[in-house]
Symmetry: C2
Subunit: 225 residues, 2 copies
């Protein structure tokens, strides 16, 4: 059995959840309050971060920690459907774009919006920084434009098929959308791409997430938004 | 011919330089002033970041952008010597530890020391933050301890052979060492590990780096430090 130690609104955990679902790999979710730095969890991942995938099979335990490591691992142990690409060039393009959203979008948009509005409040780190929020709301348009630019010549972000690049982008955006900060009207092409991901069975579990005390935006789970 | 667009003291570029040298792949270096945001470079990598590997072969050009993508690409197109590991479990461990240094060490140590002392000055971003420097000098001990802990049971960070995990860690540390901020006396086991990497032919080019106006620490290139 596989267990994914995760946090509900962590975009890296969400990427892995969708990847597992796309590959039809059954798994259980276990929420991990990383801020408690529990000994038992640090033994699984000394970095103290989610996601961590734990496999218990035939009396053996295997632990895979970190979102890149988990994604690459899933691709190696479960080839179908391919989520990275077939050729080295295709795979390089998937990894370039996955890193774009995992790192660049995360720093320029996610942290400025979800980090300021939600994480800070939750962890008691003070008031949101309004300059950061303004920056995030401005930066997200650049990223939506980039998605639209890629969509001019491609069916999915990295090429003709769905890859970890789409999963990384959609996972980050899904949390920003949870708090209602994605200006979908600004860019119909980016919205069309997100609508296609959102309607996939692999995304359903994410759309059912409800964090106590933090209701999602009205259109969060709406497939026609 | 392969060209690596890079910056001399960028740890991610250094990781790739050593990986190329370990795999005996000839390449040319091209320094890229990313802060100028040159059109020609943004055409290669819209993220505007180094490293970028460009291959021009048989009239075809292939561009691989981003340090994870370049490392994985090199492993796919040039199998020997293996730098990730053979089995999915070994590869997951390499990637976990590479991400540890690429992300955690980078945020907790590199940015607090090299970022404050060197990058800020170079980019005219004001005075170094002494609280950040203190945090960096404290955090680096935890990371040296972690290296020493891994060395208790392993020959290299991720197991019995040299991997991208060692390259990632050594690349980050080499720049902190350039400015003389690694307390090697604090931890002999970590120093022994670094001495083994430092003495490899693949590391020589890095030790010859000299940034105009920023001389390295006295022991930077010394194999017996």
């Amino acid at each position: 059995m596989k267990t994914l130690h995760h946090l509900w609104l962590d975009p890296f955990c969400r990427k892995v959840r969708v990847a597992l679902a796309e590959k039809n790999i059954p798994f259980e979710l276990k929420s991990e309050p990383v801020w408690d730095r529990r000994e038992a969890f640090l033994a699984l991942n000394p970095a103290g971060e989610v996601p961590v995938l734990v496999e218990d099979e035939d009396g053996e335990r295997r632990v895979v920690a970190g979102h890149e490591a988990v994604c690459e691992y899933l691709e190696e142990v479960c080839r179908e459907p391919v989520l990275i690409g077939e050729t080295p060039a295709e795979r390089a393009e998937t990894r370039r774009l996955a890193a774009w959203f995992d790192r660049k979008f995360h720093a320029e948009v996610f942290q400025n919006l979800v980090g300021e509005k939600l994480t800070k409040r939750f962890l008691g780190l003070g008031q949101p920084d309004s300059a950061a929020i303004r920056a995030g709301l401005s930066n997200i348009r650049t990223h939506l434009d980039y998605i639209a630019y890629l969509m001019e010549a491609r069916r999915w972000l990295a090429g003709d098929r769905l890859t970890f690049a789409d999963l990384a982008a959609a996972a980050q955006l899904s949390v920003v959308d949870y708090i209602g900060d994605v200006p979908w009207d600004y860019n119909p092409e980016a919205r069309d791409w997100y609508a296609r991901i959102k309607s996939r069975p692999s995304f359903r579990a994410l759309l059912a997430d409800r964090i106590p005390g933090v209701p999602p935006s009205s259109h969060y789970a709406d497939l026609d938004f």
